[in-house]
Amino acid sequence: MARLTAGVGSSHVPLLGVAVDQGKTGDDYFGPIFAGYEWTREWEKAEKPDVVVLVYNDHASAFDMKIVPTFAIGCGERYKPADEGWGPRKVPDVEGHADLAWHIAQSLILDDFDMTIINEMDVDHGLTVPLSMMFGQPDKWPCKVVPLAVNVVTYPVPSGNRCWALGEAIARAVASFPEDLNVQIWGTGGMSHQLQGPRAGLLNREWDNRFLDMLESEDDAVRWIPHIEYLRETGSEGIEMVMWLIMRGALGKKVKTLHRHYHIPCSNTAIGHIVLEPAD
């Protein structure tokens, strides 16, 4: 059977992709950010996941305002990097795992999650930057990916509780897939940042670290944080952190922290990163 072996949380700031693509990951500005991912890059080499369920949000790349799915799952065979206005990132195409993705999609729908199914789309920095952070610059990504896109742009976005419950349902779906696969789940986005209006540039080191503490806890209080708290405390785009709850919800009650990293700033954003494994 497929096994959900670990969860990874990570920011997906587009500038990190630029730093990788332009070879700036060791400079004074980016060095401390990338240093916090070195542990994970080595760990991933040893773990060799077969598939990553990658929770992210599309930034007006594959989806425009014509259709706004709350939760959408990529069931396609492969995905190309999107042109976000600068030309597509020169990174490998992302290979899907259609068998597992369709299995998860069907299981979730039977489990009362009314998923949108995507067969074709391009994937933007929300998905490709975490791959670069965890795997560097290979000729081919070392695992298959099941993209799981969440609307965190148009309000209301899904509640933290709903995200957590979706994670629990994904874990059940993975556990009932007959093939022996090593599956990880990644939650991406955040941490505190605001990209709009006179309040732009808001960061909140203390709140972000409390959120990381809550992810490590056995207590599931983090799922009940209301949207307004993310907005007030972490900026309008800090709401992306609800996507980390899908990852955390999938890992069960108890987790063990393998690695944790926090850095301010990257462009407009606070960088957060955590690696957890189920410990029930």
Partner: protein
């Protein structure tokens, strides 16, 4: 608390709270409706051909879209705060940033009361503090 026993959210109170954050325009359904064509216009700049056509004659390109004169003027002036008021969303407007060859951070800084070097400096020093920036009514 299970999902079944959780009280349902009062949508009016929920939406009212979203308007209580200083210097922030949360992208609510109301803004999404109002700014629909502004955002779809911005989305059209995803192709090289459209970017070139827009740059050649911005006004003529904007006139192809069913958007208000006020919004057209704000787009021509790159007045992003007004565009947020008119229902623009930053992820869509960012297509205009990249058409202009502006980094995200530089474009974002134009919405604040700082120059880009001042804004960059603030970020290096830990960013804008949430203290006093959380609530208009509460002032905390």
């Amino acid at each position: 608390m299970s999902e079944q026993t959780r009280p349902s959210t009062d949508i009016h109170a929920y939406l009212a709270e979203l308007e209580d954050i200083p210097g922030t325009r949360v992208y609510t359904a109301a803004r999404a409706r109002k700014g629909y064509h502004i955002n779809q216009f911005a989305m059209s700049l995803m192709t090289h051909e459209n970017r070139e056509r827009f740059k050649a004659d911005e006004r003529a390109y904007l006139d192809e879209w069913p958007i208000s004169e006020e919004a057209k003027q704000a787009l021509l002036k790159r007045d992003y705060n007004t565009l947020l008021d008119l229902g623009g969303n930053v992820y869509f407007l960012s297509k205009l940033f990249s058409t202009d060859g502006l980094s995200f951070a530089e474009a974002v800084s134009t919405m604040t009361d700082m120059t880009f070097p001042e804004y960059r400096d603030m970020m290096l020093k830990g960013g804008r503090s949430p203290i006093g920036n959380r609530s208009i009514k509460g002032g905390y």
